[in-house]
């Protein structure tokens, strides 16, 4: 497994798209702290990057890489290597590269310029999102054989989690505005990893706006330790569930 991961990491490290993405993230991470002298605002800007750009790139790139290296995987599968090892190797290689880029471009500046609770929450949420979206990307690519369709589907998944879900949530809230919907909404946010990560970070930063009558419900939940643990746990579930499903499919698939 480690050998496969090592090969994949070495391969990715030379990939032009990865280099471009790395440079983009480095400019974001270091540039925002250079421009913004208020670290809390910088954290919020980085939150946008983590919730918007990073899931998109992770999804598209991981999916694309899987499709492009299908022949390589076929070759390896012909060797006496277990499918399990092969799949774990691919997943580990991809997530290692993304995590490294994330840590270098956003992790280091946050730890240097704003080593606060909110900064650490941001890093934790961002790191977990990488695993979530790598797993989802593999799930999509393993299931959809056609590259174009697979990529289209990945885009759809991304836009669902990034926009559509929240739009539906807003619609739901408008429809049921007369009812005490705080708790149902709280439950519904757990069905979207981006929402979990967002609220987890915000509950550590801008508590003031979340206060108020219904904000108190969220604040009590996410601000407390058990809420933080629940959020992290749910993100882990969101990473492991697609991973397990993709793994199941990959092991049985006719490559």
């Amino acid at each position: 497994m480690f050998n496969i991961s090592k090969i994949i990491v070495q391969d990715l490290w030379k990939n032009k798209a990865v280099i471009a993405y790395g440079i983009l993230m480095l400019t974001f991470g270091w540039g925002i702290f250079a421009i913004e002298y208020q670290s809390e605002k910088a954290i919020l800007s980085l939150l946008r990057v983590i919730l918007f750009v990073q899931p998109l790139i992770t999804l598209l790139f991981a999916g694309m890489y899987y499709y492009n290296s299908q022949e390589f995987l076929l070759l390896l599968a012909a060797q006496p290597i277990k499918r399990k090892t092969l799949f774990l190797g691919v997943f580990a290689g991809l997530s290692t590269v993304f995590t490294l880029i994330f840590l270098l471009s956003i992790g280091v500046p946050v730890l240097v310029f704003s080593p606060t609770v909110e900064g650490l929450a941001l890093l934790l949420a961002g790191g977990l999102l990488i695993f979530v979206f790598t797993a989802i990307a593999l799930l999509v690519s393993v299931h959809v054989n056609d590259k174009a369709r697979g990529m289209g589907f990945a885009l759809l998944v991304w836009s669902f989690f990034a926009f559509i879900y929240d739009g539906l949530l807003l619609l739901f809230m408008y429809q049921f505005a007369e009812y005490p919907i705080e708790r149902p909404v709280l439950g519904l946010t757990f069905l979207n990893p981006i929402d979990i990560a967002r609220i987890f970070v915000i509950s550590k930063t801008e508590a003031s706006a979340l206060l108020g009558l219904s904000g108190a419900v969220f604040q009590n939940f996410f601000g407390a330790l058990q809420g933080a643990i629940a959020a992290i746990f749910m993100l882990l579930v969101w990473a492991s569930l697609p991973f397990a499903l993709a793994y199941r499919k990959f092991v049985r698939k006719d490559l």
Partner: protein, 416 residues
């Protein structure tokens, strides 16, 4: 000029004999008296009583003649939690300084205080420490009185049982300065108090307001710090209040704000700092106010200005990193927002004159949505909200059209 000379002459002729004739009495073991009450009873007007180191279990000390009472370090007057005043001053020109006054009990029938002035003018209350007292200093029909450098502390748990640190009623021309006030209901409470000056006080950790005005006119408060109170300052039903260079810090909670303005008019709010409050300024029925050169940093909502506020001028303020900059409950705006710096402003300045070329609308759609559905706070910083926001800013439909800053600053306003 001739009048002035006469006045000075008059002052000298009146002041000198009393100064020369005033006696000095010592209270304490080995002094002239053992109790303060005995010393007060024996003293002639304008005498000076010095209270020496020791514990005095006395209360209801009625001062009905002009006296100067000073305490040596270590002089403590303890009311033993009885619900009675320690000092009750009914005479003009009394001076009380340097005491440690403690343990005035709570009563629901009588608002007992460590020092109470009733119909007394020209008093000086300075350098006292007042701890664990129901009310600290209570001013009733008082004028021209100086309350400075006092430290008033209590640790009340509930608002209903708590008294105010400095309570003034139906008074005028007070000067309240450099006091530290904490753990009471209100740090300073003004009711029907006119022409007074409050400066350089530090009011923190009070259960209700750091400073509270009711029906008080032509007052000023300058350079005070209000931190961690349930709400910083409440100015209600008052006119011509000047509020300058105060710090409103971290007034935080479900119903908290830095400054509450209710039914007030013709005031000035200048050069204050509002940092980390749930709501910076909450204005209801506030008219003809000038808010300028204030700094709003990292508040939940910087200004919540209700639709019944008219003709206010909000100019040259800096709004930095607030979650919501301006919130209102009306589609119309009868206030003028001009030349402020908004950190949410994304416009440009082609002619480089420091003024943005595109007007700025500080009320955002999300503020309006959360106003209607509080549960929508859940979607703060969500991508969908950002998208809607962009659409709304480009083609305004729902947010108040008139509430715009027509000449937003490109760089923050800098103080001298």
């Amino acid at each position: 000029m001739k009048n002035l000379f006469l006045f000075i002459l008059l002052g000298l002729s009146c002041g000198m004999p009393t100064q020369l004739l005033s006696a000095k009495w010592h209270v304490g073991p080995g002094g002239d008296f053992l109790t303060i009450a005995a010393a007060i009873a024996a003293a002639a007007p304008h005498d000076h009583i010095v209270v020496h180191n020791g514990h005095y279990f006395e209360r209801q000390l009625l001062i009905d003649k002009p006296l100067q009472l000073t305490a040596e370090p270590g002089a403590v007057i303890d009311a033993k939690n009885e619900a009675e005043d320690i000092f009750l001053i009914t005479s003009d020109s009394v001076e009380i300084s340097g005491f440690l006054l403690q343990n005035v009990g709570v009563s629901f029938l009588y608002e007992c205080a460590a020092i109470r002035l009733r119909g007394a003018n020209y008093a000086k209350l300075q350098d006292n420490r007042i701890e664990g007292c129901y009310f600290g200093i209570y001013l009733e029909r008082v004028s021209n009185t100086d309350v400075g450098n006092n430290y008033i502390k209590n640790s009340f748990a509930e608002e209903v049982n708590a008294g105010n640190a400095i309570h003034a009623w139906k008074s005028k021309k007070l000067h309240i300065h450099n006091n530290v006030l904490t753990g009471h209901r209100d740090g300073i409470y003004f009711e029907f108090v006119d022409d007074s000056l409050i400066e350089c006080n530090n009011s923190y950790g009070n259960l209700r307001y750091g400073l509270h005005f009711m029906f008080s006119n032509r007052d000023a408060y300058l350079r005070n710090i209000f931190r961690d109170n349930a709400a910083g300052v409440a100015v209600m039903f008052s006119h011509n209040i000047e509020m300058t260079a105060n710090d409103f810090l971290h007034n935080w909670g479900g119903a908290s704000y830095g400054l509450l303005l209710k039914e007030i008019s013709d005031g000035q709010i200048r050069q204050n700092h509002f940092i980390r409050n749930t709501v910076g300024i909450l204005a209801e029925g506030a008219n003809r106010l000038v808010m300028s050169e204030n700094q709003f940093t990292r508040n939940g909502t910087a200004i919540d200005i209700k639709g019944n506020c008219l003709d206010n001028q909000i100019t040259a303020n800096n709004f930095l990193a607030n979650t919501f900059e301006v919130v209102t409950n009306s589609k119309h705006s009868n206030n003028e927002f001009k030349a402020n710096y908004w950190s949410g402003y994304l416009g440009y300045d082609l002619d480089r004159n420091g003024v943005g070329d595109v007007p700025y609308r500080p009320v955002d759609l999300f503020a309006k949505i959360t106003h209607e559905i509080p549960a929508a706070t859940m979607l703060l910083h969500s991508n969908i909200i950002d998208l809607l926001e962009i659409g709304e800013k480009t083609f305004p439909q729902l947010i108040p059209l008139e509430l715009t800053d027509s000449m937003p600053r490109i760089r923050p306003y800098s103080y001298d």
